[in-house]
Symmetry: C2
Subunit: 82 residues, 2 copies
Amino acid sequence: GDAEKGKSKSATCAACHGANGISMIPMYPNLAGQKEQYLILQMKAFRSGDRQNMVMAPMAKGLSDEDINDLSAYYAGLNPGG
Amino acid sequence: GDAEKGKSKSATCAACHGANGISMIPMYPNLAGQKEQYLILQMKAFRSGDRQNMVMAPMAKGLSDEDINDLSAYYAGLNPGG
């Protein structure tokens, strides 16, 4: 995916996952530096319902494959240390 | 949880998630520096089946709450940069 495009699509995500991909909320995972492929799989699972989460379902519903690839590239590229 | 005890219980986990909590396998997530509460929730979800994954289900089945707390403390305490 395209990390730059991903960044431009990440405003909603940043609310919970942090502007730098490090979450401020203990229940919500850090995404910075996470495996790109893993992120893609999880967003697709939230979108399809294979993985169920009331917060993430509506978030993922509106994402295209390209959005998912771009967001995954963006977060995978962030410094894991924040 | 007790990170030292968690470390002693993490041999099986390290096979996929890496000895330093950074996975070598693109499909499997890095755990180093992840949110402790998030890790606890995910392992309990894998154990109960709320979150379904054929690899993680048998791994989580045998874990007690104490094991889960210790493993979560261990991985949350690892350097996210590996």
